[in-house]
Symmetry: C2
Subunit: 470 residues, 2 copies
Amino acid sequence: MQDANRLDMQISIDFNNMMERFVGEHGIGDDELNEFIEKNADIAQRVNETRDNTRWRELPYNQETVVNRILEIAESVRKNYHSFVVLGIGGSALGPIAVQKALNHLRYNELSDDLRRGPKLYIEDNIDPERIRSLFDVIDIKRTMFNVITKSGSTSETMAQLLLITYMLRNCLGDNWANHVIATTDEHKGNLVKIARQFGITTLYVPDGVGGRFSELSPVGLLPAAVCGIDIKSLLDGAAYMDKLCSVDDPQKNPAFMLAALECISMKKGCNISVMMPYADSLKEMADWYAQLWAESLGKLYDKEGCVVRTGQTPVKALGVTDQHSQIQLYAEGPFDKVITFLAVDQYRALMDIPNAYDDIPDVAFLSGHTFNELIDVERRATEYALMKSRHMSKTITLPMVNEFTIGQLMMLLELQTAYAGGILNIDAFDQPGVEEGKNATYALLGKPGYEEKALELKNMPKKMKEYML
Amino acid sequence: MQDANRLDMQISIDFNNMMERFVGEHGIGDDELNEFIEKNADIAQRVNETRDNTRWRELPYNQETVVNRILEIAESVRKNYHSFVVLGIGGSALGPIAVQKALNHLRYNELSDDLRRGPKLYIEDNIDPERIRSLFDVIDIKRTMFNVITKSGSTSETMAQLLLITYMLRNCLGDNWANHVIATTDEHKGNLVKIARQFGITTLYVPDGVGGRFSELSPVGLLPAAVCGIDIKSLLDGAAYMDKLCSVDDPQKNPAFMLAALECISMKKGCNISVMMPYADSLKEMADWYAQLWAESLGKLYDKEGCVVRTGQTPVKALGVTDQHSQIQLYAEGPFDKVITFLAVDQYRALMDIPNAYDDIPDVAFLSGHTFNELIDVERRATEYALMKSRHMSKTITLPMVNEFTIGQLMMLLELQTAYAGGILNIDAFDQPGVEEGKNATYALLGKPGYEEKALELKNMPKKMKEYML
């Protein structure tokens, strides 16, 4: 892309409505902001120094070889398969879902074969038996490629799915079954890489230092995207562009740092809820992806010194304009406990007129002659205005258009924001120790060897009281 | 249904993990609960007296005639149309979406015509031009019935959609266009009923005293459900069953009252966040429907005496087990600011085995021989246990199975819970004054006659500062 075009496609941020000047006492004062920035001015640099956990930042630059391999694999899948099923959960699913929804037709799987840009895509991130069964009602497994994604190779949900499809594929394809599987996992350790080697399964690797929720721009996300015809080079290009924008020395000019600072100040002001509200159906799942990134990275009991901090802001997903008719009543009249981030789009990829009719009914006719594009834009601005008037903080991230280059930017922006927020809060943004208890209890309840003690603990837990049941 | 079968299909509630005895200091003490119940013992009765706003409670009993008419219309649609498109937003969409997802195949629209129980269903609750255009890539409008739902007939989004499809239908069908539209609206007032009469459009009515978010069991929800082959009589039967369960004199035996009480106590304890986490893909959209019900009903600036209370608990939607890999880290280690409601299912409508394979890898092989049904159940119990250990309040609503009878129960239960919570908080749970500002600003920005003053106000709003932009 030409440099001028890149500039036209640069994501912008407007945080006027975070500020006291606009929303009054519940907003951020100029001095407050400046002091906060000064105090945390070295965060970006400090985060960069934690290299072992921030290798995802290098993904836009160090994947030339693997990108070419992914494109080759994708080409072959596109030619030979009718469906592509991702088996994965959490970071292995949310990124692929968000990118597919943003960059492909909104009803991709329902398009006829000639209109679709690639095989049908199914991202199976749950183990609900009804959902699993329903998948086999709509795919023909002989014409399906399965992409099993788990870095550790020990994710119970994904490995259970692998057991199922191994059995099913073997049943109908015999020894040829392994050709219908691609593994995306750690290169050096874990069960999945072992299985893949044993059966000659095509394998892509999740690089070291790239945790699940930061892995979308690695083979985890790139292969499903490429299979569905998404331009992954442009996606990485966008991520690189944002990485450069966030590499300036002046923290006030670093958009990810500023977003992190604003969010952390809002937390200090009692906003324990952070709403992301895209005004575009294509970005709805981006809010889901971000919800994991933000919740798992910042929801922490201890800080880096081991002191109990019990921090974390709860992400909430909303959709404009839809949720104006569901959540805005609460946002406008409810407590000052949330900060809202609108995702706006300047130019939608379709132009839809609102035609004339019912000219004798002024209450309807005033809409005629406008476009749906105007209507959604006006409603977003009206909502922003109404929230400002009710003195609630909000900010807007604007994408000039939804395309590979802007989505790459957005994801890198939010990943860096998250990493910086972790730095500001002085916590480890890259681990998730809080999920261990549940995992271990699951192992114990399933009778996994080595978890006998936990099983005993569960057996001896306090009996439930009948009086607390209805 | 036989009485014994009904009892087997009765929803149950377990709130052990809300209580101090189980989760410690952040839980609810026995005395605390008893005092609260005593203080609010007359709430159920007081809510019943606000008849004008609670006519939705009568829907299971007073719709015999209209149900038969709906079944007739549905039969004709099923025979003659390939797609059924709902045009509506908020309460006109969230209920139909939730019921369809709960009670039909999880990939209904992707099933072949012979496997599907009715026409394809599209519920269009946004005005994103990309989404609107994408609809016309997958439907054949000559074979499509449009159901326009707006009680007031003045919902801009829905009326703009109506303008569009009027134009498109006229273009391809001429005067016959009105046969492809069914209106669901107020019988006596508003633009839609006027238009319907003018053009002879088939019309169903939303009864008085049934607000948008409480309208699923009225023609708003019943027609789309019936068109897709859902047994609406059984849905209403379930609602009636729950209504009776909640009509007992003893508040402690009234499940909706107890749920409302527990939620309101949690609010007093600082839980401004309420998570609904179904362990079933079929119930995922039920959490969306509930999010509107809870947010719009309880997010209020004033109490009934006109004092500023700025109340409201923010609903958050999560999905088990999926979001264990996204949100549980935050729920377990983060602040004591949330209460979690699990939706559990005893018996899924599919049984899926986890087959044998990879016997030489114990870390994977331990899963074999179990079922996905066991796995999802064990993971839910493990998560409940882990949250109890980390001292967070949770409760579980269990559906013996997901079917029309239990979904009817669940919706009535949550509607009553919401109405009671409004009573406990002493607010009007049935209005939504906080959305007016945004609506008026939208009208003003679109140049609607009568909004000149608001337009001037918007024109004179403080100019945005460049320094707050990036």
